[in-house]
Symmetry: C2
Subunit: 193 residues, 2 copies
């Protein structure tokens, strides 16, 4: 984790793009703490434009509402570092950029705590068409999956690990592994909490 | 240029954020070929949220129109790799994300040519409030400055150099150097062409 972990991330991004291209599906990204790194990782791969629609980095909290459609009351009550915010970011960017899949990151990269949340508190989310057949929820219409992370390390390490985690979450959805059980289950969040 | 050039880029991003914070001004980023790298570079700096509003990676051409407000006829006639497209991306993201300054990148990172433009053809642009006092133009309202680049190297090198160039262009504007003359002048594009 002291290195940027590029080879692992690139493997994930490559695999992701290959899987999506084979399915004829597209991807959009919403970022907060990763601040562009997820999109940069994806677009490092030649030919990414076949699959990747684009991304929104909503660093200012109100842009999560205004551009991505995250509920303003939710943001006011819980702050930006919240599993339901992550879920709505993923659903919102999917809608705003017209993609089949949306993925999102929100959390605290440090060095300071934010919105009462400790450094290393991160939520990553995926929203996509195939999730309708899984156990989902329908508060606000969009379905999704969220993973809660507690990361250690420097600001750079927390950001890199968040990139890796959100790509892995989407890969797991696409590959159908762990759809109803397995490693991701204990970190899954329902949107209603 | 074979290394990612992180230290130079980080110096630029640090200096940029320091200057903008001192002026009490904010920044938004629109990206195409850099695909998130400009935003990622800026947000690598702790405290970036004081200045950085957010970014849009408009990788799909129609998102340059739909999200950033780039003229659809212009895109249809000239493609996405064009100085006026870069200028409108910078002005558009400044408006869309409510920032004082907007910067943008568009170009061909390779390995294949795009829209009839060779690999390494890149345009970077800045749009901001201070430019009204400079020689500008008013087709569509926004004022801006564009630099044309012809870059060599790998996809990764072209992307990294594009990041460095757009940050440098904004730094030059902020520092007031080369405002009316100097190195950047010969690459300046008027918007009306």
């Amino acid at each position: 984790m002291t290195s940027p972990g590029l080879s692992a991330d690139e493997t994930s991004a490559h695999g992701l793009l290959r899987l999506l291209a084979a399915r004829g599906e597209t991807l959009a990204v919403a970022e907060s703490l990763t601040g562009g790194l997820v999109a940069a990782e994806i677009t490092a791969t030649p030919g990414a434009s076949k699959v990747f629609r684009g991304s929104v980095t909503a660093y200012a909290t109100e842009l999560k509402r205004d551009v991505l459609g995250v509920d303003g009351t939710l943001l006011a009550e819980r702050g930006a570092v919240d599993p339901e915010v992550a879920r709505q970011m993923a659903a919102g960017v999917r809608e705003a950029l017209g993609a089949d899949w949306g993925i999102a990151t929100t959390g605290v990269a440090g060095p300071d705590a934010q919105d009462g949340q400790a450094v290393g508190t991160v939520y990553v989310a995926v929203s996509g068409p195939d999730l309708e057949s899984m156990r989902g929820y329908a508060d606000g219409g969009a379905r999704g999956k969220v993973a809660a992370l507690r990361l250690n390390g420097s600001r750079s390490e927390i950001r890199r690990e968040s990139v890796r985690s959100v790509l892995t979450l989407l890969l797991e959805q696409l590959s159908g592994e762990r759809a109803e059980n397995g490693r991701a289950q204990d970190t899954e969040q329902n949107g209603g909490n």
